[in-house]
């Protein structure tokens, strides 16, 4: 850093007249070949939202089919294909890249005070790998017949007809996209922190992203080799997972869940990072227990590697292994609970403003807590014998994945939308969308807990008539939920066209991304910002004429520091 410190050079405030990152250059190629992390983040955002739309439509098809115990409009085979694609698209194309790749790409360098991620070309490469993976999944959709479930369990996946190899290669490629994103973030956070940005001055979203990246780098390669072996199994019948040749299907499940359980934390950790930001900013109060939240993110990432066996309690694992995994499973609830308590304590005696992002954050808190606590039932061996592969499991992971990650993702989009596009949105309609999501979500999945405990198995197209009332409730809820999300989308699109210009700092956040204009300039910071406490709101005051928050003492406002050579494009 001594070299850096010596580079005292006057600032070139050239970015003032070159426009923001959106208007910096124009044309299709300026987006398709961009190395700017913000543009890549926006492209990811559009991509994952489109995937979510497709996966969501498939989900509504499932719920519509389940309105009646007998066939409505999908045959058994088609039903299997629809839920398989729903799961695979939602997991591989939507949730895993949603927060880290879309919001993370946009925010990590901004929050860190860096000009870009460490490897911009790798970042773009990772986006195009995601696109290639998407093409493979579109191929599956067009070929039809993929009916293995998103888990590709052998020996069914090696014997069934349908484009299993396409799907596994697609997931393999998406895995590399995810690895490269994670690798980029670890290196960025480790080597590109500006002077003054110590580990414990980093926003908690960065801690969460860093922990996520650790999992992405360590776990995803195992999925890669598993899917590669499965593809070889499909193409050459190599037999490693196939009992016909003395192969071991339980080994496949071990391989698969060694990745896929940590992947659950790839999905939820960044969402927790978002909530840490939202809770503190919209309560205008310093986050409670910063250090504990930071450490609990890393702890979740590491504990997440120890519990994969709880997906396999009924798969024929040895007794002793099931007991070990069950015991370890409970340990992972501790860091999650630490976070929830800290968020509650953050709101306590804070100035809570029920803005749209805060509504979504509260929504998250409620839904994630239910999802997390029902996970404990499933982690207990005796209860899991009864509940395994029932709607109880379905409801549990939707509460965590959808009530947790999706709701946090939407909240995060509302929170950073003014920063991304420079436009404000209609608060009232945003809050209404949150209400619909809340009601619709609980109506969809609470009945599923009841059905699960009563023995309704998952992944069945037909069911006993006594479950019909609960299924109708659930389906109604799903459509209300879908409607709520459409309102949210409408609010965002409306703001793009009609929204008023966003101020620099609409919420009163103190992290670095609020220090640059909305939308940010092409190189983020004309000069490296002074790093202050990320959750210290005392020097901020609301300015009526700007509709945003500003530092009330001009000398506290970040001044150009004497550290970085200034980069500007002439």
């Amino acid at each position: 850093m001594s070299v850096v410190a010596k580079n005292a050079e006057a600032s070139h405030a050239a970015d003032a007249h070159e426009g923001d990152y959106l208007t910096h250059s124009r044309g299709f190629l300026s987006w398709a070949l961009t190395l700017d992390h913000k543009r890549i983040g926006i492209m990811y955002l559009i991509g994952v939202m489109t995937s979510f739309l497709v996966g969501g439509i498939l989900a509504l098809m499932i719920r519509a089919e389940l309105l009646t115990p007998t066939q409505l409009f999908l045959t058994n085979k088609q039903f299997n294909q629809v839920f398989t694609l729903h799961g695979a698209i939602m997991v591989f194309l939507f949730i895993i890249p949603s927060v880290p790749a879309a919001l993370g790409n946009f925010l990590v360098p901004l929050m860190l005070g860096a000009k870009d991620v460490a490897f911009p070309r790798l970042n773009l490469c990772s986006f195009y790998l995601w696109v290639v993976g998407l093409i493979f999944f579109i191929a599956c959709l067009l070929i039809t017949g993929l009916d293995t479930g998103w888990t590709f369990y052998t020996p069914y996946s090696t014997t069934t007809e349908g484009p299993v190899a396409w799907a596994t290669m697609g997931a393999f490629i998406l895995g590399f996209s995810s690895i490269f994103t994670g690798l980029n973030f670890i290196v960025t956070i480790n080597t590109m922190r500006p002077p003054g940005m110590t580990w414990f001055k980093m926003p908690l979203f960065l801690w969460a992203t860093y922990s996520t990246a650790i999992i992405q780098v360590l776990a995803t390669p195992v999925l890669g080799i598993t899917l590669l072996l499965l593809t070889a199994e499909r193409l050459f019948q190599i037999g490693i997972f196939d009992p016909r040749w003395n192969g071991d299907p339980v080994a496949f499940q071990h391989f698969f869940w060694f990745y896929s359980h940590p992947a659950v934390y790839i999905m939820i950790l960044p969402a927790m990072g978002i909530i840490s930001e939202l809770m503190s900013v919209h309560s205008h109060k310093t986050i409670f227990g910063y250090t504990l939240i930071a450490y609990s993110s890393v702890a979740i990432a590491l504990f997440g590697f120890l519990v994969w066996g709880h997906h396999m309690f009924t798969s024929g694992m040895a007794d002793v292994t099931t007991i070990v995994f069950s015991a370890l499973t409970f340990s992972v609830s501790i860091p999650s609970a630490i976070k929830v308590f800290n968020w509650l304590a953050t709101m306590y005696k804070g100035t809570v403003q029920l803005t749209t992002p805060m509504c979504y954050a509260l929504n998250f808190l409620f839904l994630f807590t239910i999802g997390g606590l029902t996970g404990l039932f499933l982690g207990a061996l005796s209860a899991d014998r009864h509940l395994h592969d029932t709607y109880f499991v379905v409801a549990h992971f939707h509460y965590v994945m959808m009530g947790g990650t999706l709701v946090a993702f939407v909240g995060g989009i509302f929170h950073w939308w003014p920063k991304m596009v420079g436009k404000m949105y209609n608060e009232l309609w945003g809050q209404i969308s949150c209400l619909f999501v809340f009601i619709g979500f609980n109506l969809t999945f609470l009945p599923q807990f009841v059905m699960g405990t009563r023995g309704m198995p998952r992944r069945y197209a037909r069911y006993l008539p006594e479950f019909q009332d609960l299924h109708i409730m659930s389906s109604t809820g799903a459509f209300i939920l879908g409607f709520g999300l459409f309102i949210a989308l409408g609010v965002l699109i409306h703001s793009l066209m009609r929204g008023r210009k966003a101020p620099r700092n609409p919420w009163g956040g103190a992290t670095l991304e609020w220090h640059c204009s909305s939308p940010p300039p092409h190189y983020n910071f004309a000069s490296a910002p002074t790093v202050n406490e990320p959750y210290d709101y005392t020097p901020l005051a609301y300015h009526d004429e700007e509709h945003g928050w500003e530092y009330h003492q001009p000398n506290v406002r970040p001044t150009p520091s004497q550290s970085h050579p200034v980069i500007a494009k002439s």
Partner: protein, 125 residues
């Protein structure tokens, strides 16, 4: 190791480096290569004796010594930052975790697995 770093350091000064490149001295590269070849010969040699269960552990031990030489010298880990060392070595902890649990489980349930092809008469007791 002091002479080594000194040799590397003096070369580096004469070339006017910025302080982050550590060229390995040629003699060190050649010595490591010679050691690797000797160890390869040793492992081939030990495989000719029937050491029973010990054999796999011995050959793995020799392989690990070879791997350590490659990591320390060819991959410059002795000059690397502690973080990079932790990152790379950390991966082996997760490999151990993965292998440990899967092997423990596979041996736990092997008695309940029925072989698909019936064993021939000669081996059934």
């Amino acid at each position: 190791m002091s002479t080594t770093s000194h040799a590397a350091g003096s070369e580096h000064d004469s070339q006017g480096h910025h302080g982050f490149s550590h060229p390995m001295p040629v003699w060190q590269l050649l010595a490591v290569f010679a050691a690797l070849i000797v160890l390869t010969a040793l492992t081939v040699f030990q495989s000719k004796f029937d050491l029973g269960n010990l054999e796999v552990w011995l050959s793995l031990f020799i392989a690990t010594v070879k791997a350590s030489l490659v990591i320390l010298f060819f991959m410059h880990m002795i000059h690397d930052k502690p973080l990079n060392v932790i990152v790379f070595m950390g991966s082996f902890i997760f490999v151990a975790l993965f292998l440990g649990f899967v092997l423990m489980d596979a041996h736990g349930y092997k008695d309940v697995v029925e072989p698909q092809e019936a064993p021939p008469a000669a081996t059934t007791p």
